[in-house]
């Protein structure tokens, strides 16, 4: 298990490889799609941002309200695809790390490769466990967004996996492919070619 300090240095970002289990310690900023939209609007207008984006790591999270005496409520990752439309712009403006869950679009991965950004997967549905790693949480901007506001969090030994590294290696592709082959070797699943079903399911996110 690697220990990594935030903000991520460009060197650390480049040494991390898809599949590495990592413990993150340091500063994260929280943002979901609504906050991403506002950040992109400020960038487009050339206006200052409420926090320093250069070298920052964003955590895609909307926590439950903090119970009395606790810094934060339950705080697991949300689905990252909702941020896909905005992430390339943020990455081009210096964003170096993202923490969320689920695969990313090809455009996000291309931006990550071009600018040296890492995408970490946290365990979805482990909100109580992750909350224990969050030592403080303070509002930075856009209180009107409620749970989706931007907050600065100090985390300690936050367990994540490098899902997509700076070279574009993607564990969401290589992981399942390897384990599907393992299943085939065991003769599991009796897989048959696809293509009979009338329709393909719509994508959510």
């Amino acid at each position: 298990m690697k220990k990594i300090t935030l903000p991520l240095s460009p060197e650390d970002a480049r040494t991390l490889q898809a599949g590495d289990e990592v413990l993150l310690t340091g500063t994260l900023y929280t943002a979901r799609d609504a906050a991403h939209k506002r950040i992109c609007e400020l960038l487009a207008a050339g206006s200052p941002l409420p926090f320093e984006l250069e070298g920052a790591t964003l955590y895609f999270v909307g926590p439950t309200p903090a119970q009395p005496g606790r810094p934060v409520g339950s705080a697991g990752p949300t689905t990252s695809t909702r941020m896909d439309a905005f992430s390339p712009t943020l990455i081009a403006h210096g964003l170096r790390g993202m923490v969320g869950k689920g695969d990313r679009s090809p455009a996000v991965v291309e931006a990550m490769k071009a600018h040296g950004c890492v995408y970490f997967a946290a365990t979805g549905g482990a909100g109580a466990l992750i909350a224990r790693c969050i030592k403080s949480s303070e509002l930075v901007a856009w209180e009107d967004l409620g749970t989706e506001a931007v907050r600065r969090m100090e985390v300690e030994d936050f367990p994540v996996v490098v899902a997509i590294d700076c070279e574009g290696n993607n564990l969401y592709h290589t992981g399942p492919a390897a384990w599907a082959r393992e299943s085939e070797r065991r003769g599991g699943g009796r897989m048959k070619p696809l293509g009979v079903a009338g329709r393909t399911p719509g994508q959510g996110g």
């Binding site: 949300t78 689905t79 979805g124 399942p176 599991g188 293509g195 959510g204």
Partner: protein, 281 residues
């Protein structure tokens, strides 16, 4: 007739909202433990370990196991000899939800309008309510809070009847594969078959309520559930979509009669935080 005052419904519902958020049902906890015995991916095992540790922590400290405390979905069995006094049933459920989510520090996740006014209602309401009239003088309320991650990856299709079992299986496997890590695997797959366009998704959601480890009463569907589980797990999607043997803990089917021209199929995915809680009044 037996009279139940809405106050009793409100307080019971407020309690099960918190119960569901803090305490993973024993059958789900057991299934996750069993998965730790069969998973071979080291990363998958590490993730399953985090998930079970998270469930224990949530219960011990009364913290929501997941920050997405969901849409409150109620399945109500209303005895035909029950008369509700005070608020109407829907209002009582909404008020119980508001109180439970407020008192439990749960996340309010509902917006007023899907398109024009995405403003938080701050009550986590209105809830989604399914009422079934049953004989007797009891009122049974089951809450299944549903998170957005797995709900968003669910899918529905009107298949041609001739595609049969194989067509259904392909639709299920493809839905799970496309969902990948977004649905927070290991998942539970609820499969609704038959009925009509609006009935199939209801059946799929209802299928998610069945106890893990229970066997479908129809041996043909019991065998189909086993086959589907095997095929879903053969995708290699694994815990959190990062690869492994454990993609799903179970596939549950609810089937209903349908039109001669139709084969409605709905796949409702549930994340590993398969929360539900019931109360009988």
């Amino acid at each position: 007739m037996r009279t139940i005052h809405s106050d009793a419904i409100v307080s019971a519902v407020a309690e099960i909202c918190q119960e569901a958020a803090f305490r993973l049902p024993a059958d789900v906890r057991r299934a996750l433990e069993e998965a730790r015995g069969t998973e071979k991916s080291p990363l998958g095992l590490s993730i399953l370990g985090q998930i079970t540790e998270n469930a224990d922590l949530a219960e011990r400290e009364r913290v929501p196991m997941c920050q997405d405390t969901g849409v409150a979905v109620y399945f109500v069995e209303l005895g035909n000899e029950v008369r509700i006094e005070g608020l109407g049933l829907a209002e009582a459920l909404a008020e119980g939800t508001r109180q439970g989510y407020t008192e439990g520090y749960l996340r309010m996740s509902i917006v007023k309008d899907p398109l024009f006014e995405r403003v938080n209602t701050k009550t986590n309401g209105p809830p989604v309510v399914h009422v079934e009239l049953v004989p007797g003088d009891r009122l049974r309320i089951t809450l299944a809070p549903k998170g957005g991650g797995s709900e968003n990856m669910s899918a529905m299709a009107m298949l041609k009847p001739l595609v049969g079992k194989e067509g259904v299986a392909e639709f299920v496997v493809e839905t799970v594969r496309r969902a990948g890590g977004n649905a927070c695997p290991p998942i539970i797959v609820g499969l609704g078959l038959g009925g009509n366009f609006e009935r199939a998704p209801y059946l799929a959601k209802k299928a998610l309520l069945r106890k893990l480890g229970s066997v479908h009463p129809d041996p043909r569907y019991a065998a189909f559930e086993r086959e589907l589980l095997e095929r879903v797990n053969a995708t290699g999607v694994g815990p959190q979509g990062l690869g492994g043997r454990t993609t799903a803990l179970a596939v549950h089917i609810e089937a209903a009669p349908c039109h001669i021209a139709s084969l409605p199929v709905a796949v409702n995915l549930n994340c590993h935080a398969a929360r539900h809680a019931s109360v009988e009044l």
